[in-house]
Symmetry: C2
Subunit: 124 residues, 2 copies
DNA sequence: CATTGGAAAGTACGGGTGTAATCTGGCAAG
DNA sequence: CTTGCCAGATTACACCCGTACTTTCCAATG
């Protein structure tokens, strides 16, 4: 249901990038990326199965895994937690923080302005 | 040096709110807040000492603890990690995400606009 | 100097995590 | 029908974390 660990999330990311994937494919993408033995990847897959975060099924000749939770949902709970714990749930201070630490690129600024305009237009 | 755990961060937050604090003070602020036995709080203090995240010293009649790392630094590494893992290091997509999930209050919008104006003025 | 009170260290223990090997059982191919 | 491969389960093990108690050691106080 919940609490996908860091290592497990690497598997999820692979499946979110491309779904479905066979065990073999997961191992060959995610293994080298992280320096994991095949057995390790299989353990992570097992744990994700147990957590109902993914499902495996045989389809047209092979056995494939698919994510059962949407990346957006996961991102939501992860980032919501951080926002609450560190910034009292307010988005602006978070952005201000990044701004102070020179983490706001010109590209970010452009995108942010566009985003704000869009939101205001929608509300109109 | 690193990796302050969730529970440990509660102690840090108390010390960041008011520094220095005695063990007694930490226990009586942080204990009830989290439903922790005094012994638990002391364990967390010990672990933070071992991690060099705080320091204890006797000063004018009592024994007091002070944080050794700045809250801003901690917030920085925590949020940077999330930003990198979830949003490829780009701030705008993060804000966009919150916007989509109705997490952007009117107040946030106001503050964001002010923030952006300020940044642009500074750059001028 | 002896006692005491508190800080720090040590011990405990169940659960999660990272890392990994092996066992098992069913399906497919020969 | 038998055999082999592969998914899933089991087992392993050290470390971190949450939760907590007990022991040790130092410093101040009487």
């Amino acid at each position: 249901m919940q609490a996908i660990s860091e290592a497990e999330s690497r598997i999820m990311e692979a499946l979110w990038r491309k779904t479905p994937l066979s065990a073999e494919q997961i191992i060959s993408t995610v293994g080298p990326e992280n320096g994991w033995a095949p057995a390790t990847v299989k353990t992570l897959i097992t744990r994700l199965l147990k957590k109902n975060a993914i499902a495996g099924a045989k389809e047209d000749g092979g056995y494939f895994y698919r994510p059962l939770i949407a990346r957006a949902d996961w991102v939501q709970s992860e980032s919501q937690g951080l926002l609450d714990r560190l910034f009292k749930g307010e988005v602006a201070p978070l952005v201000a923080h990044f701004a102070e630490h020179r983490q706001l690129s010109a590209k970010d600024l452009r995108q942010l302005k566009a985003l704000i305009s869009k939101i205001e237009d929608d509300g109109k």
